[in-house]
């Protein structure tokens, strides 16, 4: 087990969905710290610690990014592409968390080296279970690079 709480960057334009993620992660027994941005541009700014997110103390490097695909301004896939083509960021595990079940999206996400692809379940119970498992996996089982 890792001592440090799991820092998660949630990139989600839908405030309701973000709230649901937040609540379910909080309910899980996983020590975590959630950062939420609403579009791709902000996500990249966060990751590069620039603009509004320039302060590393306030906005430390996340251990995991939960990335929605349909985002205003910079699309989720664009963000993914940028992360995976940046030597500084490519080791960041990126879990795509989206409403889309389209195969094309799944294929493209993996083509851009997404580490995992999750579809938001419509059922609340499943949604809760998914996030619980997710947190547990990445905090308890997964060995992270930093």
């Amino acid at each position: 087990m890792n001592g440090e709480p799991l820092r998660i960057l949630l990139v989600e334009d839908n405030a309701d969905h973000a709230e649901l993620v937040k609540r379910n992660l909080a309910d899980s027994q996983v020590a975590n710290r959630l950062f939420h941005v609403e579009d791709g541009e902000a996500a990249l700014d966060f990751l590069y610690q620039r603009g509004a997110f320039a302060d590393p103390a306030q906005f430390p490097r996340p251990h995991l990014m939960l990335l929605d695909l349909r985002l205003p301004r910079v699309d989720g896939l664009e963000v993914l592409k940028e992360v995976k083509s940046s030597p500084a960021l490519l080791s960041l595990p990126v879990v795509v968390l989206t409403t889309s079940e389209a195969e094309r999206d799944v294929a493209r996400a993996y083509a851009y080296h997404a580490n995992s692809y999750l579809t938001k379940p419509v059922d609340f119970g499943q949604f809760a279970a998914l996030l619980k498992d997710l947190g547990f996996y990445w905090l308890a089982w997964n060995r992270r690079p930093w």
Binding site: N14, T99, D123, F124
Partner: protein, 737 residues
């Protein structure tokens, strides 16, 4: 001759003497006696008459030699001397003189009389007039000489073979043909000589048996016509064969050649595949070859003697009579064509070559019915294809490939193009026909040279769809090579299809995006609703009530969003199916009406809106166009940001042939990176802003349905933005400047 003959006495002797005397006198020959002195001692009456001496008295005592021609007297004297010398009697022929000096030829036999006592020695001379015989003999000899000359010089062989088969005579120039000289084979056996020619031996045997034989023998290539005639003695027995052989080799050869020639002609006439005939200018068939039966159904015999005019198609009668009269004028007629009635009533086309020779016409003819039918069919087919060529919707061009010295295809010549070609390319046939492609199309490299060269080289057709830059059109082109060095291109302008395909592709993409985004964006509120409903249930169960109201609000908002989405989607889907007929729309009025509708939000945000005067009238669906203006103004108001003096301008400008309309604001502006994506369905630049993200998609769709374009002009965030679009103007009206 002397009446005083001394020894004749009376009595029996006298009687004997008288008898003898009478005998002498009766002889046809002249009898005289010559004494030792050579004088005539006696002459018979026949003798007197022969020598023309009137009386015995005048004869007695004359010198006998005086009656011999002077040039022969010496020979005669010699003759006398012999006789006196006691040599045996002999006769000799002399030219003799009559008393009147005339000459005749006589044969004189001199003999010495028996010596008796008391009797003078005398010579008896018996003279026979042989003038006539001599003349006959001379004539005979002359004749024989002539005959012999003829024989020797004749182109024949005259021969005599005796009973034993031995040649007794062999003469004539023709012997040379057998390799013999005249007389060479005389003494040789004919049977031996000709043992290898049984017909010769046989003929000789038959002639010797008494038969007149005539045969033609081929003696090693020399051909002789020979008559063998049996030669008989006075008793009628065959003693030999007289033959004459005439060398007929040359004649025979000529005959054979002539026969062959005429056989050849006859064979040609009967076996020629062409129709041959001899007719006359009177209009009658004289002779026809058997081929006519195949053409006209009548045998040559049926037609011979018939009038050929009877068989001619009525429409061709006049031209035929004209041809016949031309032939009668001894002018040959070539390539004349008319129709003959077949036995079955049908007509056959006959082509003639006729030669005039007096009243005869020598003609060769050919049945060209099938050829004409083929030609006819070909012509029809050609016409059909030409009509097709002229009327087909595909452009067709025929070309000939042009090669350089090394056999490399370097260009091609445009030989023929059809009207569709002109229509599709806008290039007139006159402009390109006969031109090299590089010249006709004005390109440095002949278009598609490599492809067409491959078609010509391989004979394999080639099909392709291609964009042809010189004409800015898409074509589907098929190329075939109908014969070496040539090729045809058949093409259709598929620009429209390509555009439709492109549109379809775009539509499909749009549909896919639509489906995708619809499923995504409709699902999104569902997750919210279910999520918060679940959370609510938990909270209620746990007795926590502080989040109930906001969570319920979230659920209500999500439901509203879904409703809004559904209604916007419905509107979007309706745009293509216009419920309102398009017409002239006064854009300025439309703008003002729209602004009235939006008076509330505009007033609330304190926005100044200006509408440019003198808008052109446009053509379209007024309601939809109003939606455009409404959405654009709403967006402008919505994204005004913190602009202290918000302004919106509705205007237009002429740009080339287009009229560009625009809605400009001085609000937040849009980063150029997002100028394209803002029109996408459900694409929102701000997660928090109201709306479904369908507004601009609807606007774009309406403009596109009207045949216009829409785009965004903005210098970036914070600098305001301008949405521009084009609309069609009414066809008849010029835009108001």
């Amino acid at each position: 001759m002397s009446t005083t003959a001394p020894h004749i006495s009376d009595g029996p002797l006298r009687e004997a003497e008288d008898l003898f005397h009478d005998l002498i006198e009766a002889l046809p020959d002249a009898v005289s006696l010559v004494d030792r002195e050579g004088r005539i001692a006696y002459a018979s009456r026949t003798g007197l008459k022969l020598y023309g001496v009137p009386s015995v008295a005048l004869a007695i005592g004359q010198v006998a030699l005086d009656f011999v021609a002077p040039e022969e007297r010496e020979r005669a004297a010699q003759h006398l001397t012999e006789v006196w010398a006691g040599r045996p009697a002999r006769s000799a022929q002399y030219t003799l003189l009559r008393a009147d000096g005339s000459r005749f030829i006589g044969e004189i036999n001199l003999a010495r009389c028996n010596e008796a006592a008391g009797r003078p020695s005398l010579v008896i001379a018996v003279t026979r007039d042989v003038t006539e015989r001599t003349q006959r003999e001379a004539a005979l000899m002359e004749s024989e000489r002539h005959f012999r000359t003829v024989l020797l010089n004749a182109q024949a062989i005259i021969f005599i073979i005796d009973r034993e088969g031995v040649f007794r005579l062999s003469e004539g120039q023709a012997l040379a043909a057998l390799g013999f000289r005249p007389g060479q084979v005389v003494g040789q056996s004919a049977f031996e000589l000709y043992r290898d020619f049984p017909s010769v031996v046989e003929s000789i045997r038959r002639a010797l048996a008494g038969e007149l034989v005539r045969v033609i023998n081929d003696l090693n290539g020399a051909i002789f016509d020979t008559v063998y005639t049996p030669y008989r003695d006075l008793d009628g027995r065959v003693t030999g064969v007289v033959g004459i052989s005439i060398d007929i080799t040359e004649r025979r050869r000529a005959e054979i050649a002539l026969q062959q020639k005429s056989e050849e002609i006859d064979r040609y006439f009967t076996s020629a595949l062409d129709l041959l005939c001899i007719a006359d200018t009177g209009g009658f068939f004289r002779r026809l070859n058997p081929q006519w039966e195949a053409t006209l159904g009548y045998t040559a015999a049926d037609l011979q003697g018939r009038s050929f005019l009877d068989l001619i198609h009525p429409d061709d009668l006049e031209s035929t009579l004209k041809a016949v009269s031309q032939l009668a004028a001894q002018k040959d007629v070539f390539n004349f064509i008319n129709r003959y009635r077949h036995k079955d009533g049908s007509y056959r086309w006959i082509e003639w070559r006729s030669f005039a020779s007096g009243e005869l016409i020598y003609a060769t003819a050919r049945d060209i019915t099938d050829r004409r039918r083929t030609e006819e069919a070909l012509r029809e087919s050609e016409q059909r294809f030409h009509a097709l060529f002229d009327h087909m919707t595909e452009g067709v061009a025929l070309h000939e490939m042009v090669y350089d010295a090394s056999g490399q295809a370097v260009d091609y010549r445009i030989l023929e193009v059809n009207p569709a070609y002109e229509k599709h390319t806008g290039i007139s046939a006159r402009q390109v026909r006969g031109q090299l492609a590089s010249v006709g199309y004005g390109t440095s490299q002949p278009p598609y040279l490599a492809e067409w060269a491959a078609v010509v080289a391989s004979g394999q057709p080639h099909h392709q769809e291609t964009y042809f830059p010189p004409l800015k059109r898409h074509f589907r082109i098929s190329a075939i090579s109908p014969k070496p060095g040539f090729f045809a291109t058949v093409f259709e302008d598929i620009t429209e299809r390509k555009l439709r395909e492109e549109e379809l592709r775009r539509k499909n993409e749009e549909l896919e995006r639509f489906t995708y985004t619809v499923s995504h964006d409709l699902k999104s509120p569902l997750i919210t609703i279910k999520g918060f409903a679940g959370s609510l249930l938990h909270d209620v169960a746990a007795g926590r009530h502080e989040r109930l109201a906001p969570d319920l609000q979230r659920i209500a908002d999500a439901t509203d969003r879904m409703a809004g989405l559904l209604s916007d989607l419905l509107e979007l889907s309706r745009i293509g199916r216009s419920a309102h007929p398009p017409g002239e729309v006064h854009f300025a009025q439309l703008a003002r009406d729209t602004l009235e509708l939006l008076a509330g939000p505009i007033h609330k945000r304190q926005v100044t809106v200006t509408v440019q005067p003198d808008f052109p009238v446009v053509y379209g669906d007024r309601r939809r166009l109003q939606t455009v203006v409404q959405n654009l103004v709403e967006n402008a108001v919505k994204f005004m940001g913190d602009q202290p003096q918000p302004r919106i301008e509705i205007g237009w400008r002429a740009a080339g042939s287009e009229t560009v309309f625009f809605v400009r604001d001085n609000g937040m502006g849009i980063d150029p990176r997002y100028h394209q994506t803002v029109f996408g369905l459900f694409n929102k630049l701000e997660a928090k802003t109201e709306g479904t993200g369908i507004g601009l998609a609807i606007v774009q769709r309406i403009i596109e349905v009207h045949g216009g374009r829409i785009w965004l002009e903005s210098e970036g965030a914070g600098r305001g933005s301008t949405v521009c679009f084009t609309l069609p103007l009414p066809a008849k009206k010029e835009p108001t400047p």
